[in-house]
C-alpha cells in the first residue's frame, strides 16, 4: 500500500545555520496513529511545520496522498489538518465563528451541522459563543483541535496535543483520537508523555538532533528493545553461583544478597525465564525471600536510546 505521506531526505537548516532536520526519511501508512518522540529541540515541530507549509525545507521532498507537495500543494493541503504546539488563537474571536472560519479557509462550504458535531465532540458546544480569550488553556487547545478538524482532514498533525492538559481531558483526547482513527483519519502526533504513545500509537518514531533514530511498530520495538528486570533478594549471602544458574543473564551484588536478572525481549519471555530461574534456585538450595519484577516500558526504551546516542556523540 502506498504511504499517505512520504518524506525523503528532508533537511532544514534555519537561518543562523542550525540544522533542525538532517536527511529525514519517513513514510506514514494510511489510517495509522504515528507517534513522534524526541527530546526538546529534536526537530519534531520543524518536521511537522515543513510538511504543513510553515517552514521552507532546505532540501528533500515531501509527498502526501501520492502528490508532490511542492507542486500539488493545494489539493494536498486541503486534506491536511494541523494542531500547533503553541496556543495561537485570535483572542477576541468567538469559538463557533473561529471553527466555521477554518472550514471556509480550507475551501469548504459552510456546514453548521458538522461544526456543531465537532464542537460537541470536544465539549465546546456550551462555550460556542464565548470569546476564546475567556477560555482556559486546555479549552483553547480544544478550540485549536476543533479548528483543525473543521475541514474533515484525512491526515492530522497533533503537535503535543496533551501538553498542559489535565488527566481527565487527556483521557478525553485519547478517546477522541481513537474515534478519529475509526473514521479513517491518519494521525501523526508528538508527545513528551511516552505512556501516551504506548497507549495509542501503532508505530513510533524516535527523533534526536534532527535525525530519525528508529521507526518501528510499537510492539516490535518493545519486544526488540524491551527488557524484564527482576531483583531477587536472598536472606543469606551467597559466595558464588552454581553453573546452571550462571547461564541465565544474572549478576550477583557485591554483598551477595541480591541477584539481578536482566533479560527477555519485552514479549513475556523474560517472565518465563525468571520463573525457571527461581526453580533452579530452589533446586540448588539457594533460599530467596523476595522478587521484584519489572517490565521495561516504552519510556525506558526511549530514555536508553536517547541517552545511548548522547553518550556516543560525546
Amino acid at each position: 500500500m502506498q504511504p499517505i505521506l512520504e518524506v525523503r531526505d528532508l533537511t532544514k537548516v534555519y537561518q543562523g545555520g542550525l540544522k533542525a532536520l538532517d536527511s529525514v526519511d519517513l513514510a506514514i501508512n494510511r489510517g495509522e496513529i504515528f507517534a513522534l518522540l524526541g527530546p526538546n529541540g529534536a526537530g519534531k515541530t520543524t518536521l511537522i511545520a515543513a510538511i504543513c507549509g510553515l517552514v521552507r525545507p532546505t532540501g528533500g521532498t515531501i509527498s502526501a496522498f501520492g502528490e508532490d507537495l511542492s507542486k500539488n500543494w493545494r489539493s494536498a493541503r486541503s486534506r491536511i489538518g494541523l494542531v500547533p504546539q503553541e496556543l495561537a488563537t485570535d483572542m477576541f474571536e468567538k469559538v463557533q465563528y473561529a471553527v466555521s472560519y477554518s472550514r471556509g479557509l480550507f475551501g469548504l462550504a459552510p456546514n453548521p451541522a458538522r461544526i456543531e458535531e465537532i464542537l460537541k465532540s470536544l465539549s465546546l458546544w456550551d462555550k460556542r459563543d464565548e470569546q476564546i480569550r475567556a477560555l482556559s488553556g486546555g479549552m483553547k487547545r480544544r478550540v485549536l483541535i476543533a479548528k483543525a478538524l473543521a475541514h474533515d482532514p484525512d491526515l492530522l498533525f497533533l503537535d503535543e496535543p496533551t501538553a498542559g492538559v489535565d488527566v481527565e481531558l487527556r483521557r478525553d483526547m485519547w478517546k477522541l483520537i481513537g474515534e478519529m482513527r475509526e473514521r479513517g483519519v491518519t494521525i501523526i502526533l508528538t508527545t513528551h508523555y511516552i505512556e501516551e504513545a504506548e497507549e495509542m500509537a501503532d508505530r513510533v518514531g524516535i527523533i534526536r538532533k534532527g535525525q530519525i533514530l528508529m521507526v518501528d511498530d510499537k510492539e516490535a520495538m518493545m519486544s526488540r528493545l524491551g527488557r524484564t528486570e527482576a531483583i531477587i533478594t536472598l536472606p543469606s549471602a551467597v559466595a558464588g553461583l552454581p553453573d546452571d544458574i550462571a547461564t541465565y543473564p544474572v549478576t550477583l551484588s557485591d554483598d551477595g544478597k541480591e541477584l539481578c536478572y536482566r533479560g527477555g525481549d519485552g514479549s513475556g519471555k523474560g517472565k518465563e525465564e525468571v520463573a525457571n530461574l527461581t526453580k533452579a534456585l530452589t533446586r540448588a538450595g539457594i533460599d530467596y525471600n523476595g522478587i521484584d519484577i519489572h517490565e521495561s516500558s516504552l519510556e525506558d526504551i526511549f530514555v536508553d536510546l536517547v541517552e545511548e546516542r548522547t553518550g556516543e556523540s560525546k
Binding site: 510553515l54 489539493s75 493541503r77 488563537t89 485570535d90 479557509l105
Partner: protein
Amino acid sequence: MIGFNFRSTLAIYNRELMRALRTAFQSILAPVLTTSLYFIVFGAAIGSRMPDLGGVDYGAFIIPGLLLLTLLSESTSNASFGIYMPRFTGTIYELLSAPVGVAETLVGFVGAAATKSLILAAIILATATLFVDYSIAHPVLAIGYIMLVAASFSLFGFILGIWADSFEKLGIIPALFLIPLTFLGGTFYSIDMLPDPWRTIALFNPVVYLVNGLRWTFYGSSDINIWVSLGLTLGFLAICVATIAFIFKTGWRLRE
C-alpha cells in the same frame, strides 16, 4: 499555483471585514470626527479668508485632500495590522497551512482593508455635505480613482505588515512618511500657491499627484495633468503587486 479558491477568499475577506467592524467605533467614528474638525478649522475658519482656488470654493477644494488623508492612513494601517497581528500572535500558521495562495490572501486581506476604506470615504463625503456645497464633475472616475488609491495603499499596508517585525516599525512608516507627505502634498492648498523652489520640490512628493488626480475627478481641473497622476498611481500599484508576488515566492518573513 493553478486555481483560485473562492470560498477561502470569501472566508478571509469576511473575517477581516468583521474584525474591522468589531472596532466600529474607533475605526469609523474617529475618522468622521477628525474630518469634521478639519472642515470646521480649515473649511469654515480659514476658508472664509481664502480666495476661490481655480473657481472652486476653498471648503470644497480641500475635500479630495481630506479624503486622501483618510484613505492613505486607514488603508495602510488596516491592511498592515490585518497581516501583522496573525504573525505576531502566531495564528498565521493556519493561513500558511491552508490551500490558499497569493491571490486568495491578497484579495481577502487587501480587499477587506480597501472595502473598509471605501466605506469611510463614503461616510466622509456624506459628512462633507453638512459643511460645504460641492458637486463631483466626474463621479464615475472619482469612484474609480478612490478605489484605485484604496487598493494601492491597502497593498502597501500589507507589505508594511509583512516587513514590520515590531509594533514600532508598523507605526513608523505612516508617522514618518505618509502623514508628512500627505500634509505637504497639497491637501489644503494648490501647489501653484507655492513660491518657485518649493513648487518644484513639491513635484517630488508622490502624494501631490494623488491629491491632484482626485481633485481633477472632482472639479475638472488640477495642478497636474490627470494622465500623469493616473499613470503614477497605477505604477505604484504595480510595484506593490510585484513586491507581494516576490514576498510570497520567497516566503520572506512568512515562512522560516
